[in-house]
């Protein structure tokens, strides 16, 4: 099942996007939903911090796991930094990199159009398809 939602360029869109993910995945194991919601929160934050545009979240929930896309129409794209421990920021994609099974960036085909960051996470115990 696919769930999609647009969010405005406002900091309140971060908790709303996270809660949207939680509601979309209701019934799945709490720890799994928590990880997905955490990663959605990071990508929504990145979209607002770097894209500074509205963004949308697309959640493809299958029997064996989820694939999530967060798209903005900013010009930045995702850059994973390696902050030292005293750096306050730059850890959003570090979280996604650590928790997702796979993740990546699809830069806009046309400059200034949609940048998408996606990740996938298999349900614990699910047979992996590929």
């Amino acid at each position: 099942m696919i769930f999609e939602h647009d969010f405005p360029r406002a900091s309140g869109s971060v908790p709303r996007a996270r809660h949207f993910a939680e509601k979309s995945l209701v019934g799945l194991p709490e720890a799994f939903v928590g990880l997905v919601a955490l990663m959605v929160s990071e990508l929504a934050t990145n979209a607002l911090r770097h894209g500074a545009t509205p963004f949308d979240v697309r959640i493809d929930a299958a029997d064996d796991g989820v694939a999530v896309e967060v798209s903005d129409n900013g010009t930045g794209g995702a850059v994973r930094r390696s902050p030292v421990s005293s750096d306050p920021t730059g850890r959003g994609l570090q979280v996604v990199d650590a928790l997702a099974d796979e993740w990546g960036v699809r830069p806009a085909a046309i400059p200034g159009w949609r940048n998408t960051v996606w990740f996938s996470l298999a349900l614990p115990g699910a047979a992996r398809s590929g």
């Binding site: 900091s11 996270r18 990071e42 934050t45 920021t89 850890r91 570090q94 650590a98």
Partner: protein, 105 residues
């Protein structure tokens, strides 16, 4: 006491019996309210304490925006995290900051 932002977080600064400032954060800490919590942290750091305690028992969610606030605090004082919830511990662990904070029950 500060009521902060859309996701719903409160940050309550008190002095502990030992004299270290303690900030009890409850709710969900993210980009929408981290700035407000940081203001409370700066208030706690104003007297240049050696240690700053965070009581996280009621913090049900935190992402890297919350990590940024804790790292900011740890750049100015020793940071003790009391009773962090599993998701908060997970975020600290995956950002490689386990050694940056002291965690206590």
């Amino acid at each position: 006491m500060a009521e902060l932002g859309e996701g719903g977080v409160t940050a309550n600064l008190e002095m502990t019996e030992g004299g270290a400032p303690c900030i009890a954060i409850a709710g969900e800490l993210d980009f929408s309210n981290a700035e407000g919590v940081r203001t409370v942290v700066d208030e706690a750091l104003a007297n240049d304490p050696e240690e700053l305690v965070f009581d996280l028992e009621k913090l049900s969610f935190m992402d890297s925006s919350g990590i940024a606030v804790l790292v900011h605090a740890s750049n100015h004082a020793r940071v003790l995290l009391r009773r962090p919830t599993p998701i908060v511990l997970r975020v600290i662990e995956v950002t490689g900051l386990t050694g940056t904070f002291t965690v206590a029950e």
